[in-house]
């Protein structure tokens, strides 16, 4: 399981298993708070290659109507890269979700991030920028959810280094308090 691709495949299998387990349940989305934890895998165009790590995320769900919701969220993550440094990431975004009427939803999000590249306890760079993404998830009647999201965002530096592009895939397991 040391291979990042294998690790990500295992996460996908876990997500699919959890979704199948509760496929009969019907979600009843409403306003409330959500707490998530998960794993992510990312790739950067120039800086570090691949990274893997974990994160926690909180959101607030505001229903527009029975089919749509707006979910502002915050995410804090930590990752290990192929190189000699680690990454601490903070993201703040707004996701629009379309609820199918059953337990499934599909979403798109816009976000800003700040990523710190660390070697030991020394922060070598602070990179930031906007991003966009897509997501899909399943939420049970008991308010537990599993979702997948993918984002792509720019990483700008305040110190004149060329901007790079990062893509990431996230698997989230969470609970919503309605």
């Amino acid at each position: 399981m040391g291979n990042p691709a294998m690790r990500f495949f295992a996460l996908l299998c876990l997500g699919a298993t959890l979704c199948a387990w509760g496929a009969q349940a019907q979600a009843a989305p409403d306003n409330g708070f959500g707490l998530y934890a998960g794993a992510l895998s990312s790739r950067d165009s120039a800086l570090y290659g691949n990274s893997n790590g974990g994160f926690v995320q909180v959101d607030v769900q505001f229903m527009v109507d029975q089919s749509w919701s707006l979910n502002p969220y915050l995410l804090l993550g930590t990752e290990s890269t192929n190189r000699t440094f680690d990454i601490e990431t903070g993201e703040g975004g707004l996701q629009a979700r379309y609820w199918t009427g059953g337990p499934w939803y599909f979403g798109g999000q816009f976000l800003f991030h700040d990523s710190l590249l660390k070697q030991g306890s020394t922060v070598g760079s602070s990179l930031y920028g906007p991003g966009i993404g897509l997501g899909a998830g399943w939420e049970s009647d008991s308010h537990w959810s599993v979702s997948l999201a993918t984002n792509v965002y720019r990483m700008w530096s305040a110190y004149g280094q060329p901007a790079t592009t990062r893509s990431e895939v996230l698997l989230l397991v969470g609970y919503h308090w309605y």
Binding site: P72, G92, T122, V123
Partner: protein, 248 residues
């Protein structure tokens, strides 16, 4: 100096208060009864709290620069906000999503005493004996989108917005300025500076969640647009705060 800054703050609040009162005199027809948050935000408010934030002071000119930071600190959070002016709304299941603006006044203090040098971290400074301290008082129209309430009838909302305005900013100290040399070395020079209060361009971003009388705020502030000794001076501050909101 703090007494002086507080006096300025109080004086500046007066015209903002009058402006906000005027706005309340004319009923806002766009604040529908389906938007209880608009009722909460009709009046003025003061946020008092604490935030953990990091401020970075920068001097830049071609070929030479200085950066000092505070490496993160706990700071007082003081914001004054006028009544809300709604530009547009979209009905939600509970309440409305609204695009709106208000005027926000803030007071901030700077105590940057850790030098970021070319051989150290990009954002964590080292104590090398240099220091720049200062205060600023800002006022900015603040455009934002808000969603809420979370629960029907509750005083709760989320907002994200951007403000562009002016800050009266003064600072002074003895930063080290770094100048790369032709032989590859870097020359370090102490440059005492004193800047009396002058207007700076002020920009602010805020991610805020409000529940009851409490707010959690992620804020960014940037002051720029003024030169001293040939250097472009700027100050940036990013923080996470918890504040209690007083409405009146």
């Amino acid at each position: 100096m703090k007494r002086y800054a507080c006096a300025i703050l109080l004086l500046c609040l007066l015209p903002l208060t009058a402006w906000a009162d005027d706005s309340q005199a004319a009923p806002d027809s766009s604040a529908s009864s389906n938007d209880p948050v608009a009722e909460f935000l009709k009046g003025q408010s003061i946020q008092l709290g604490l935030s953990y934030e990091q401020g970075t002071f920068k001097l830049n000119k071609p070929g030479s620069s200085a950066q000092l930071t505070d490496n993160g600190r706990t700071a007082l959070l003081i914001n004054y906000t006028t009544g809300e002016h709604i530009l547009g709304t979209m009905p939600m299941k509970y309440g409305d999503a609204a695009l709106a603006w208000s005027v926000v006044g803030s007071f901030g203090q700077q105590d940057t005493h850790d030098q970021i040098n070319p051989y150290s971290s990009a954002i964590i400074g080292q104590d090398k004996g240099s220091r720049v301290t200062g205060d600023f008082l800002s006022a900015a129209p603040f455009l934002y989108m808000r969603l809420g309430p979370v629960y029907p009838g509750s005083d709760s909302f989320w907002l994200f917005g951007y403000g562009l305005g002016v800050a009266m900013y003064h600072f002074g100290g003895n930063p080290f300025v770094y100048t790369p040399q032709a032989d590859g070395s870097i020359l370090q020079t102490s440059m005492p500076i004193t800047q009396h209060a002058v207007p700076f361009l002020y920009q602010t971003w805020r991610w805020q969640f409000h529940y009851g009388n409490w707010d959690v705020l992620f804020t960014g502030k940037s002051l720029s647009g003024h030169r001293i000794n040939g250097y472009n001076a700027s100050y940036e501050d990013y923080g996470l705060g918890l504040a209690y909101t007083l409405r009146f």
